[in-house]
């Protein structure tokens, strides 16, 4: 047993840290640090650096351009990029489609689609959810009917994150009737195809990362089918398994905790001193820090191969539940630190270019919006209620 990271891992950490310091564009770093809005170009500016360094697809096999990291290195990479206020890798092409293409795509599909994903030239949106089918994919209704060399797709996808940034959509469609395991296919769709409408959905924080995609007699070449017809359910399950990396979000929580302390060190408390020095505030932060430490080490124990003694198979749910709850608790305290400054909401000031138009300290502009946005953490990617159901099933052997 060893509590410290190995010398190699520490060296790797330094390498990542230096890389972030040197390569992350200053304006992008500021946007992330202050919780402001990011554009596709912001992500691409950073992803291009990662691409050059060979670090853009940490989860891909080496032969497809992955860096061949150990799980601990991936962990360190995630943490250091987040602590350096780099944007997360949100591109669904990298996180989701890539692994599916590599596992189940034809050679031609891989050749065609993987390189533009790595170069951030083509951005992919995920078309799984539908109105009425959120955590419950089985009740999906979007259909694809074969018509010669094409599928004709009709339906309505929703909660497609970043679709307004995106060029292509990977999509689950119903190609048969019966059990979802036997009637759903996995299709790639160029968003420029006639018959597609992308409608942004304004979120409670004013953001528009979420979209609806309407598909109306959309003709999709049959060559865009992944794997076999009616086997899409299993590819989707594979994909959702891959989505789970760094599910605890410890790095993101540490980043926000650092932000919390930084801001609390600038705010005067009613008691007279600085908020960060007030014993009861410090104790409340300590409670969160300790919980986060316990979560971090739980994740590291799992990385190191230890299984959860009481119930194997609940690891991911456990990390997701506590990880999101903790992150949300930190965002709650960020709003508390903002105090009355959380009331003003100058939407333009959420863009760095207009940050000067903020009311009050400009590093507090986005706190209320960030808090509101954080509420999604316990909803998306399998709501925490679903995670608890899953974990209970394992624990109780139901």
């Amino acid at each position: 047993m060893k509590l410290q990271f190995s010398a190699e891992d520490e060296a790797f950490r330094q390498e990542v840290r230096s890389f972030v310091r040197a390569q992350l564009p200053g304006d992008v770093r500021q946007k992330v640090a202050r919780g402001l809005r990011l554009e596709r170009s912001d992500y691409v500016a950073w992803y291009a650096k990662l691409y050059e360094r060979g670090w853009i697809t940490p989860g891909w096999p080496v032969e497809h351009g992955g860096p061949g990291w150990t799980p601990v290195q991936r962990y360190i990479f995630d943490e250091e990029t987040l602590l350096g206020d780099a944007p997360r890798i949100i591109a669904s092409g990298i996180n989701m489609l890539g692994p599916v293409l590599i596992a189940f795509g034809s050679e031609e599909q891989k050749r065609r689609h993987l390189p533009p994903i790595r170069r951030s030239e083509v951005w992919w949106a995920q078309g799984f959810s539908e109105p009425g089918a959120g955590s419950d994919l089985a009740s999906m209704r979007t259909s694809a009917v074969r018509d010669g060399d094409h599928f004709i797709v009709n339906g309505h996808k929703i909660w497609t994150s970043y679709a307004h940034f995106c060029d292509w959509l990977f999509c689950l469609v119903r190609t048969g009737s019966g059990k979802p395991q036997e009637s759903i296919s996995f299709l790639l769709i160029d968003l420029k195809t006639p018959g597609i409408t992308v409608r942004p959905i304004r979120a409670i924080d004013g953001g528009n990362d979420l979209n609806e995609v309407f598909l109306d007699d959309v003709r999709v070449p049959a060559e865009n089918l992944i794997g076999e017809i009616n086997k899409g359910w299993s590819y989707a399950k594979y994909l959702l398994g891959h989505e789970r990396t760094s599910i605890a979000g410890v790095g993101a929580s540490k980043q926000q905790l650092a932000r919390l302390k930084r801001l609390a060190a600038c705010v005067r408390s009613e008691a007279g001193g600085l908020l960060i020095e007030e014993p009861s505030f410090r104790t409340r932060i300590a409670a969160i820090e300790i919980d986060l430490l316990a979560l971090e080490y739980t994740g590291l124990r799992m990385l190191s191969g230890a299984t959860v003694a009481a119930a194997p198979g609940v690891d991911a749910s456990l990390l997701k539940i506590r990880g999101t709850e903790l992150r949300q608790a930190i965002y709650e305290m960020l709003v508390e630190v903002a105090g009355p400054h959380a009331v003003a909401f100058v939407e333009e000031a959420l863009f760095l270019e207009h940050a000067g138009e903020a009311v009050g300290p400009s590093d507090m502009t986005a706190l209320a919006a960030n808090y509101l946005d954080s509420r999604k953490l316990s909803i998306y990617g399998g709501a925490n209620e679903i995670q608890r159901n899953l974990a209970a099933r394992s624990l109780l052997e139901l």
Partner: protein, 379 residues
């Protein structure tokens, strides 16, 4: 000990509720309206006597108490009414009624009552957080009145109100209780810069920067240098009114969520059949009821003229704490149970949540009032 409303009080509530049901249809709550619609609503409020509710009949008001104001605020909260009722009536108007000379009151309040005049109160300063002090804004006497300099922040409805009430210092150092004076300032006066902006709940506020704004002597409201106790008193009442507004919003959030889980299906059955959600809904109900009880008690304490001032502060703080905690818990759970839909601006849940957040961040949040309660209890 009697918590029953009089028939008149219940009638008032019903009238306001009918008005709100008509003017703020459920599906459009929280969305922006045209200036005409807003003006029509304001006129209607005036016609119904709502704008004069707490003021003396000599000024055209109805002379009603904090309990009646509570009933009105609750309905406005339930319907997310965004008119500047709180800023003009519960805050600005109440301060005029408390501080102004009879002549000033006569000049101002009838116009408030009729809907001609809207008010805004500028008291907070950029680093003041939730405290009334320090007051750094300065008013220096000159030959033609006072010259005002300073920066007031988060002046609710400050960019739309016709008249501003500005707290400034005529003597003493920034943290002293003495030397604070209240000025009536025309928003369009030379030397008054108004920086208006949206608030989180889609309403308006402004930062007001005063640069040698020249205020005539007869625009001083109340005794020179002694405004602080008046201000504290009015803010106490205003907090009670905000708590009442919050209970309306809480009720609406709970009702929306109850309706949603009964309809929305997952895995083929309504969400309402899941025990984990059922139990959480009960906890939401309990939070709402506890918040309501304290909001009612806060209003009654305000009306209880003979009551003990420290006890009144305790009860108002307790109400603000309950409302703040309930707002956070009920708001978070309402979003959670609405799922992705709850994260959108198209669903009114988010609008209620944001209003409740703003209420928590105004005049002291949960932690602030917990501390105040503890201090008042020990004292």
């Amino acid at each position: 000990m009697d918590f029953s409303f009089s028939d008149e009080q219940l009638q008032l509530r019903d009238v306001v509720r009918r008005f709100c049901d008509q003017e703020y249809p459920a599906e459009r709550r929280g969305t922006a309206v045209s200036a005409e619609v807003a003006a029509r609503r304001w006129r209607q409020m005036a016609d119904m006597g709502l704008l004069g509710l707490p003021f003396d009949s000599a000024c055209g008001g109805s002379g009603l108490s904090a309990v009646e104001l509570m009933l009105v605020m609750e309905e406005l909260g339930r319907s997310l009414a965004s008119e500047p009722y709180f800023a003009t009536v519960a805050l600005g108007g109440a301060l005029v009624a408390a501080a102004a000379s009879p002549a000033q009151a006569q000049a101002l309040l009838p116009r408030v009552v009729s809907g001609e005049l809207t008010l805004a109160l500028g008291f907070g300063e950029p680093d003041g957080r939730y405290e009334l002090l320090p007051v750094e804004a300065e008013a220096r006497p000159g030959s033609d009145g006072y010259r005002l300099n300073g920066h007031k922040t988060l002046v609710l409805n400050g960019d739309t109100a016709d008249m501003l009430l500005i707290v400034a210092r005529t003597a003493g150092a920034a943290h002293e209780r003495d030397g604070v004076t209240l000025f009536l300032v025309d928003r369009k006066l030379h030397g008054v810069e108004v920086h208006g902006y949206s608030t989180l709940d889609g309403r308006r506020a402004a930062d007001i920067v005063l640069r040698d704004a020249c205020i005539p002597v007869d625009h001083v409201l109340g005794p020179v240098g002694e405004a602080l106790p008046l201000l504290e008193n009015v803010i106490e009442r205003a907090v009670a009114a905000l708590c009442a507004e919050a209970t309306g919003a809480l009720d609406a959030l709970l009702a929306l969520t109850v309706d949603y889980v009964k309809v929305r299906k997952q895995f083929g059955v309504p969400l309402a059949t899941f025990q984990a959600l059922q139990h959480r809904l009960v906890d939401m109900l309990i939070a709402c009821e506890q918040a309501r009880s304290m909001a009612v008690v806060a209003a009654m304490a305000i009306d209880d003229a003979g009551g003990d001032a420290a006890q009144r502060r305790r009860l108002v703080s307790a109400a603000k704490v309950q409302v703040g905690n309930a707002g956070r818990f009920v708001g978070q759970q309402a979003i959670q149970m609405h799922g992705a839909m709850g994260m959108t601006d198209e669903c009114s849940v988010g609008h209620y949540v944001k209003r409740l957040m703003v209420i928590n961040q105004l005049f002291g949040d949960v932690q602030y009032h917990l501390r105040r309660f503890a201090q008042e209890t020990a004292a």
